[in-house]
Symmetry: C2
Subunit: 205 residues, 2 copies
Amino acid sequence: MGRTSDARERLIRTAMELIWQNSYHAVGVEALCRKAAVNKGSFYHFFASKRDLALASLEATWHFAEQHSLRPAFTMDGSLRERFARFFALVTEVNRQDHIERGLIGGCPFGNLGNEMSGEDKALRDKVQSIFMRYIAYFEDAIREAIRRGEISAALDAGKIARLLFTYWQGVFLLTKTSNSIATMEELSGGALRILDGLTNEVAV
Amino acid sequence: MGRTSDARERLIRTAMELIWQNSYHAVGVEALCRKAAVNKGSFYHFFASKRDLALASLEATWHFAEQHSLRPAFTMDGSLRERFARFFALVTEVNRQDHIERGLIGGCPFGNLGNEMSGEDKALRDKVQSIFMRYIAYFEDAIREAIRRGEISAALDAGKIARLLFTYWQGVFLLTKTSNSIATMEELSGGALRILDGLTNEVAV
């Protein structure tokens, strides 16, 4: 067993990894404890249930995603199209690494859990929904900035374009996962930019 | 216990319903047998495993979807846009009924399973992938027909537009499920038509 002092962190990191690579139901408290080298007593000291750990792990995954893909992509200099292209490329790299390491593609940790658990657990569903809103807010801010710069028409509905693009992007994760091929993500990322073009070339959306 | 003669059918229908409303892992052979009023011996007479039943149930769900949404939408008279609008409306109705009956939205039975099980079971992943290809073929045929009619440019890549639209549509299911609101599906269905417009207004995609 590892040091108790960082047992909570180890459980969160382990849950992030195992649930992402498998599914929520497939990963039990026992397996989480074993992989994290934490005993069950410690688990229940930190978390009331697997669901509580999953909620904490979703939040930790969000911070990771924000730091490694959203912020680098959306605070970089460049046009709206360049920013989205960078975001898609960064996410593609994470999934490419996963495929190289495991021969499998984990997809979106939030979309996965939202898909699996929305019918069974409202707390998990609401958490995923709130994280989706944070993604959409990043997209929307970038679109608003492009409007302010005069890159795209001021008549466009930034919130709606952001929602449509994020919706498409969730589909990209799923199609990539079911095809188990990074080439799918590469093709569909290009498609995302065409969709962005189509939505932003219109005068009113 | 019900009649053995239709036990196989009852198991398939029960699996279609329970797995769609919950998740693959959440539904065990025991629960399937109980709900279908079939004893375990009969279950294993017809299916080697829960996975075998799930494969048969995916195929049955495909035939249902083809009959109730794809065929009615894509064999109707009307423009490409009208056909897609009808397809989205038919699927939205199924999910609206689900929400009325259960207060929950099941989403796409294929996307759900593909999302949950792609990392764990190649047979299930491949089955979902092959059903996705059949959907995309319907979309692609409709786009090709619109090209033949001169409705949209002959320079368009029908296969690519079909893949992008289907990808978006899978995202629609997920966002609808996590928001647990039919209004989401209604808004995002409208978005699908805008995306279709954007992709088909270009000369080359």
